[in-house]
Subunit: 200 residues, 2 copies
């Protein structure tokens, strides 16, 4: 399974492609960053990000796209730009019928370092170790994109199993409720019959 | 000039097309809302919004798109979804080479009611009056989209003039600095000549 991880942004948007093998084995395929000029029109910047992501999707043909879920940041303006960049990336993937999953920064950190509160340096170190990289991915957004892809490869099977278990549980609840309703109806019919019988 | 106004959102995305004529005259062309189911995948919801906006762009062929600029809202999750929806709309317009301008809610309110702090009812009332509508656009997002288009039609000429004035001012500053630099250089050369002369 091949995953494109995306650390969305307008100034820098990190992109990382990782192949997942048996068990927990992961292999780096490509890593990079898209930059758009701060003095450019917002729509043009979004177009710049989308076009480059389209090129990566064409070139590396990932089977899924993992995007960092944005929360409120110190700077609201930056957070909105980041959310918008993530939105256009998700759209490009959805247009190709690729599944898009959003992971929170703490899920990503926890996946690669074991702690949801790990710092950037720790994430980079683990990404290098897990992927067998000798050179530090630069900038940090590129390392984050690789971490996102790894997080997705490792979490996805669990997420799918969990969703299946939830669906089964919901089905059991539905069946149980249907049986209860049928029993109540049957009891109601019996009561009515008895009532009718009593009135005769 | 024809403008598509967009009040972005995932649950409801308001769309309104308005034609601007001479002076401040405005004419309604179309109004509507795109809805996407809350239980749908985020990427699929963004695709739903983008596809419908593409249909509107095909059908009404606006010359510009005005999108509401999102700020922090009470609910961060909602704000992010709104920003992402606005991002994919801007992308669709940019892909067609259409100018996309973001207006803040207070700019829109000020444009149609005269006050940046007007409430929703006041905005709707003025939108109906300005466009000669007899039926209230429903939901409020649809009225907001029309207000955005009107705001754009009225603000845009001013914005363009302001940008031109700023560009002219910047050019004057540049020319002045260049003259100063040339004068300083000439003075420097003269001083050197004198110095050389003095040494002889």
């Amino acid at each position: 399974m091949r995953v494109l991880g995306v650390d969305p942004g307008l100034t820098r948007c990190g992109l990382g492609v990782v192949d997942g093998g048996k068990g927990r084995s992961v292999r780096p395929v490509a890593v990079g960053v898209v930059r758009t000029p701060a003095d450019q029109d917002l729509a043009q910047r979004l177009l710049g990000v989308a076009d480059e992501v389209e090129r990566w999707l064409d070139r590396y043909r990932p089977e899924a796209v993992a995007v960092e879920r944005v929360f409120a940041q110190h700077n609201v303006r930056t957070a909105m730009g980041t959310a918008q960049a993530g939105g256009v990336v998700a759209l490009s993937a959805a247009r190709r019928g690729l599944p898009v999953v959003f992971h929170t920064p703490s899920e990503v950190k926890a996946a690669v370092t074991g702690s949801g509160r790990a710092d950037k340096a720790q994430v980079t170190t683990m990404v290098m170790r897990l992927l067998g990289l000798e050179v530090k991915p630069h900038p940090a957004d590129a390392a984050d994109a690789l971490a996102l892809a790894i997080c997705h490869l490792w979490r996805e099977p669990m997420r799918v199993r969990l969703a299946e278990a939830e669906a089964r549980a919901a089905e059991l609840v539905r069946a149980h409720k249907a049986r209860l309703a049928a029993a109540a109806k049957a009891a109601g019919t019996t009561t009515k019959k008895n009532e009718t019988g009593a009135r005769r």
